[in-house]
């Protein structure tokens, strides 16, 4: 609608008959600007490539660290489920006592599983594993105690510790032992690593934001004359800035995809080396790669960075250009 001339049809929307048609024209305008901003990038390939590379590298490093942390967590979670409380029983307990204790424990809600390793079995195992072999047969009596291995029903360090303290009080128990301190340390280190990763990621992404903003600023300066003409023939600021915002989005798309490619290549390259190591340790560890969801998040972050970076540049610079 015209401001000065009441009733003067101005603009396509005034002459369009239907709502659907207006919507279609809006979509077409957006598509045209999106495609033409892609063409703009093609016209200044060096700056475009530099910006995409900066964005890609800044995304690659934190994303790689994220994959690393994820894999470490996978390793440590394997251990998480395997903590057991060892109950060393007093030397003078009888088999009936043990049976009573086992029944008692199995009735406890906090206890998941109870396994008995009696003296003789323990001795046989020790003989086999320790390598003392025949020397052990010279012992008068079996010095090993009966052991009950109790798995807590909840696999949390705190719950396991509480259970251990409770079991310590049992009549036949000499000593209850739970080795979780190293697990706690591992968990602490993991969360430290995670914090470091997030901090580095935030710093790198700030850097990428500035680079994108600068690239867009150069593009705007390059088209100063064109922007002046557009303002003279009645373009709104939002119309003028839209192609630059699309440029930012495109930079994000390409930068994010570059980061994805680099990570995949790196993991592909590492897979062989990791397979060698895990084979030596006879572990069933397999390398976790980026899931589809993580790929989506990576792209979203990259596109968001492109958009925000270009918005910051556009907001200040387009308003500053006025025809004279």
């Amino acid at each position: 609608m015209s401001i000065l001339f009441n009733g003067r049809a101005s603009g396509a929307s005034d002459s369009a008959p239907g709502l659907l048609q207006k919507l279609m024209m809006g979509v077409v305008t957006h598509l045209r600007q999106a495609v033409s901003s892609l063409g703009e990038l093609w016209r200044s390939p060096v700056w475009t490539l530099v910006t995409i590379a900066v964005l890609g590298v800044s995304m690659t490093l934190p994303a790689t660290l994220h994959v690393l942390v994820k894999n470490l967590q996978q390793v440590s979670s394997n251990y998480d489920q395997s903590f057991e409380i060892s109950l060393f029983l007093k030397n003078d307990v009888t088999e009936t006592d043990i049976a009573t204790l086992v029944t008692l424990l199995q009735g406890d809600r906090d206890v998941g599983k109870v396994r008995l390793i009696d003296k003789t079995a323990a001795m046989a195992e020790f003989k086999q594993e320790s390598g003392f072999g025949e020397a052990i047969t010279f012992l008068d009596q079996n010095p090993l105690p009966d052991v009950l291995l109790v798995t807590p029903s909840q696999s949390k360090p705190a719950a396991a510790e509480a259970l251990m303290n409770k079991l310590q009080q049992e009549r036949f128990v000499e000593l209850a032992k739970l080795d979780i301190s190293w697990l706690e340390r591992l968990a602490a280190i993991m969360s430290l690593v995670q914090q470091v990763v997030y901090t580095i990621a935030a710093l790198l992404l700030c850097g990428a934001l500035l680079v994108i903003g600068n690239t867009i600023r150069l593009l705007i300066m390059d088209k100063k004359a064109e922007i002046e003409v557009m303002k003279l023939v009645g373009a709104t600021d939002s119309f003028i800035q839209r192609p630059f915002l699309y440029t930012g989005i495109w930079l994000g798309v390409f930068g994010g995809f570059l980061a994805f490619l680099v990570i995949e290549l790196m993991l592909f390259w590492l897979r062989g080396a990791i397979a060698n190591v895990t084979q030596l340790y006879q572990s069933g560890f397999s390398l976790n790669v980026l899931t589809l969801q993580e790929f989506g998040i990576l792209m979203l972050i990259a596109i968001g960075l492109g958009l925000v970076g270009s918005y910051l540049a556009v907001r200040s610079h387009i308003k500053a250009i006025e025809p004279c």
């Binding site: 305008t29 045209r32 002046e228 303002k231 373009a235 119309f239 004279c324």
Partner: protein
Amino acid sequence: MLRFEQVSKSYPGGFVALDRVSFELQKGEMAFLTGHSGAGKSTMLKLISLIERPSTGRVVINGIDLSGIKPGQIPYVRRDIGMIFQDHRLLMNHTVFDNVALPLVIEGFTGRDMARRVHAALDQVGLLDKARCLPATLSGGEAQRVGIARAVVNKPPLLLADEPTGNLDPDLSKDIMRVFEAFNQAGVSVLVASHDLSLIARMRYRTMTLKSGKMINDGLMHNEETL
């Protein structure tokens, strides 16, 4: 249609570009604005197209005081005013068609509707066969006519021209003026700033003369010595 009421414009530093200028341009009227360079012609056009704001006084278009126009509304006001510049201000890396289509693209036109209007405008200035050319390949007169086509493509009721013939030889200048006359006969109000006095005198239209920011003559100009 277009009215100046005691409009003054002074710049920081004390330079007075316009000093209490008043005039009214009727709907469908064509007029010339003349004077030496620095007399305030360009300032007047800038006040109309809201590139500048007056220090005092009111600029009124079609009964609407421009001082009430907010910055966000300026683009919409400019869509109602066709502007032509001495250096024609074309986008050099776009074709003639794209240049003329620019105002339509801004207003959201697409496809056949847009092409039809662009071709009509190019036809009016006699450049239909140059639609696919780049501005760099055009002569000065042709480039100026592309500028005119761009100014009229969305059929504004008011046309402003700032020294449209400044860089052209007399024959081409006459051609350009004839194009303005044709639009004026179609009902468009036209205001042309020019210092080409001999051409203006021959055209026999209302002529306003500015000198050091003051309006010293308003009416038909019969001889050039009034300056």
